[in-house]
């Protein structure tokens, strides 16, 4: 077992026992990045000097007996997180050289605990994508099979866990961008309830859907990391002022008598046979642990993808208007006049998927189409939320696949955006409903590619999905398997 293989809680124990120092752990991680990241491309920016300074500070803190759960732990951040003094690109050329003057709230919370940030992770440009192929900094390779995508948009955050180039990472999830790559890279990923974690200092894609969450090696780490970043933030008007439970303390609650719903719309024809088999095994396991499983209905599921691509793109078209070349980021050279500055700057700065979504969203909001698209999508969103609330009157947790298939090949779906959009069909409804979901390793395909399992909880029901996931993890070995890298 190498230092870079350890979980947060394992490394924490070693740091606390002074068996290893944070500087050693950080060096080990930086060496590992140096050794394997050229194959994976999980990192956009590595910050070795700063990381070692932080590690030294963590060691001093530990020596003084002041150790928090994340003190001295080498972590990576999706490059969507604003980091003071460290380039933050959001996977885009338009922010290629953008060095922010402030830290976001989640990052500040990690730093308060003394976490060590080793670098900024690759992602789909502006979090728009399901395969990490839209990044200006090149695609991320799946450590389980370098020809496959790691999923997206938090592809780097998931791949770094699988490649063991970070002990834990943060990602963001707008339509599945934490859970789907977690599933494809066989790690644990949590999409918390909307409002649970502050969005302050997270570059906005779709403000009403974006949510920050952890990607980790096991459920215990997810509980630790979520606990560290969750909570009300007066800087984010949409963050919710409700107490954060002790997720770690609740992990061993068990599933005896827990009512688990199986939404029939998620177990459809066309589901990959390996995925189907993994789900059946998971269902059998939960039954054997004393959970009650029953079918439920989420009748508006089929409209979720269309609804998502109207709301998310509408918000994105407005959120991305600030990248205009005036105050920061890329500005085109040799421009004549204001309009040309805007046009050239944005034409050069944004990639094709981002442009596609800006256009879609601009159209959905434009005069004469607003009611037919944006307003209608909001109505359907309300129905989808209601579907979940109805289901949660009957059951405590929902169990579903994360994606219809195991990881796909790089380039496989690039030519067909609709096909790509459909790969998020099981994760998108959770964002629209604003509730929480977790992805946990649940097996491998015949070709050896990871398959994830999704547990969906009630709003602010993170403790329940974590304990439900933990019960599964205790009985399985999937999370212990290492990618061949």
């Amino acid at each position: 077992m190498e230092i870079f293989d350890l979980t947060i809680h394992e490394l924490h124990d070693k740091l606390k026992a002074k068996e290893v120092s944070s500087v050693e752990a950080t060096r080990a991680m930086l060496d590992r990045i140096e050794a394997v990241d050229s194959q994976v491309n999980a990192y956009i920016t590595v910050t070795p000097e700063q990381a070692l300074v932080e590690a030294e500070a963590a060691d001093r803190r530990i020596a003084a007996g002041d150790i928090a759960p994340l003190t001295g732990i080498p972590m990576g951040l999706k490059d969507i997180f604003i980091t003071k003094g460290v380039r933050t690109t959001c996977g885009s050329r338009i922010l290629e050289n953008f060095v922010p003057p402030y830290d976001g709230t989640a990052v500040a919370k990690l730093k308060e605990q003394g976490a060590v940030i080793v670098g900024k992770l690759n992602q789909d440009e502006f979090a728009m994508g399901s395969s990490n192929e839209s990044s200006y900094f090149g695609p991320v390779k799946n450590p389980w099979n370098l020809e496959c995508t790691p999923g997206g948009s938090s592809g780097g955050s998931a791949a770094a866990i699988a490649a063991r180039t970070a002990t834990a990472t943060l990602g963001t999830d707008t339509g599945g961008s934490i859970r789907q790559p977690a599933s494809h890279c066989s790690c644990v990923g949590v999409k918390p309830t909307y409002g649970r974690v502050s969005r302050y200092g997270v570059i906005a894609y779709a403000s009403s859907l974006d949510q920050v969450g952890p990607l980790t090696r096991d459920v215990t780490d997810a509980a630790i990391l979520l606990g560290a970043i969750a909570g009300y933030d007066p800087k984010d008007s949409t963050s919710v002022n409700t107490p954060v439970p002790d997720y770690l303390a609740g992990l061993k609650t068990g599933v005896k008598g827990l009512k688990i719903g199986l939404p029939k719309q998620y177990f459809i024809e066309g589901l990959d046979p390996d995925v189907k088999r993994a789900m059946e095994e998971a269902i059998a396991l939960y039954k054997s642990l004393g959970a009650e499983l029953r079918e439920v209905s989420l009748p508006h599921t089929e409209y979720a993808v269309a609804t998502y691509y109207l709301i998310a793109t509408a918000e994105a078209s407005s959120n991305l208007a600030r990248y205009d070349g005036v105050r920061f980021g890329h500005r085109a050279d040799e421009i004549r006049g204001l309009k040309e500055m805007y046009a050239k700057t944005r034409a050069e700065g944004f990639g094709s998927e981002v442009k596609r979504r800006i256009m879609l969203g601009t159209y959905a909001l434009s005069s004469g189409y607003y009611d037919a698209y944006y307003v209608k999508a909001q109505k359907v969103r309300t129905l989808i939320m209601q579907d979940f609330l109805n289901a949660f009157n009957e059951v405590d947790v929902l169990l579903t696949p994360i994606a219809p298939t195991p990881p796909f090949k790089i380039g496989e779906k690039l030519a067909d955006p609709l096909q790509m959009y459909l790969s998020d069909i099981f994760t998108i409804p959770v964002n629209l409903a604003g509730t929480c979901g977790i992805s946990i390793p649940a097996g491998f395909s015949a070709a050896g590619l990871p398959i994830g399992l999704q547990l969906i909880g009630k709003p602010f029901g993170e403790a329940t999905i974590l304990s439900t996931a933990y019960a599964f993890e205790q009985e399985t070995q999937w999370h212990l398997k290492k990618a061949p890298l």
Partner: protein, 480 residues
Amino acid sequence: MKYQVVIGLEVHTQLTTNTKIFCGCSTKFGSEPNSQTCPVCLGFPGALPVLNRQVVEYAIRAGLATNCSITQRNVFARKNYFYPDLPKGYQISQFDLPICQHGHLDIEVEGETKRIGITRIHMEEDAGKLVHADISEVGDDSCVDLNRACTPLLEIVSEPDMRSPDEAIAYLKKLHQIVMYLGICDGNLEEGSFRCDANVSLMPVGSTVFGTRAELKNINSFKFIKQAIEYEIERQAEILDDGGKVIQETRLFDPNTGTTRSMRGKEEAHDYRYFPDPDLVPVLIADQWIEDVRAELPELPEAKRARYVTELGLPEYDAEVLASSRELAQYYEETVALFPQAKIVSNWVMGEVARALNDDNNRSITDCPVTPALLADLLKLMEKGTISGKIAKTVFDEMYKTGKAPERIVEEKGLVQVSDTGAIEAMVDEVLNNNPGQVEQYRGGKETVFGFFVGQVMRASKGKANPAVVNELLLKKLKA
């Protein structure tokens, strides 16, 4: 004139909150460019707006003072357009659910009262400023100053109810007075704290169908508003007279030429793609909040004026002048509270006080060196007969210059009024003896000469003789 003008006004008032509407930056005017900015008002990636609740309270005040109904569930919307002074590429404003609706103001023009409808009042953030100045290091490029970005505004939109430039001015002045009374806007037109856009159209007299309107922008004084509207009436009338059609467009007023010129036509009009801002939650205004604000509303100019007439017995004119600004009214009321003779105080405030402030570079009444307490003391000295009215004016000037108490000035300068009958009688006798001709005239029936005698006696006493005593003695001696 065969055309009737139809005018609707959109007024932007900058609110006097200490901090901006969605961040904690200062709203102070005139600081070093971009010194009052942060990631939020610079529109940096990842930054989020947080509503300044003071803005909501100010908006409720404005709504209640203009007879609006208050919307209890408020939603902020994004108004999307690109401009270098707009950091986020959208302005946070309100769209279909403005905070105040369906209000009105009554204005008076040529003795007639007219009701002007207020369609809506909404909260929004201001944009920054572009500076096109020739700056040595920058050449002729444009520079962006974002100190003003994200400062709070109320946009107050009237119905197209005004039918002359004078009505438009009357409405604007009334609105201006109200927002200043409410303490929500400093009313400074030059600094852009109170800005106006005018929608102007013409229709044939007698018609009820409005013509096509032009929207006039960039008007920053009452004088210019009148000029702009008058020019626009002329321009549109000429087009109509020639059988042409007025086109719907936005026109920019040029204060140098007093004319307007086309800025953009209807086809170039923005599609603002309004939608609810997902970064902000709806603002819910409970009945209690509205009632609390209502309870704390100051007495408004109209009510004050009426009260001055009915309760204090002031003439309409005095009431109007004194109620014209909250500060002046407050000064007046504080003085009356200490010296309860409404008309005498009114004469002094509108006379000596106003003159002194005016001569002193239009100094504000709030930093008048003669405070209401000092003025009341002065008036009391006059009432007691310690000094004459004439001397009181001298004392006032001295008080204004030095800030000293009137008693002290009177004492130091020996200005105590002489009411001693014996001393005055001696002066009266002397004046009558020295002017036998005038005495003859008076006794011959020319009573206007009386004033001459009074003046002579006052001069002899160096202004200190009690005029009442002087009058009495003069009459007695002349009639004898």
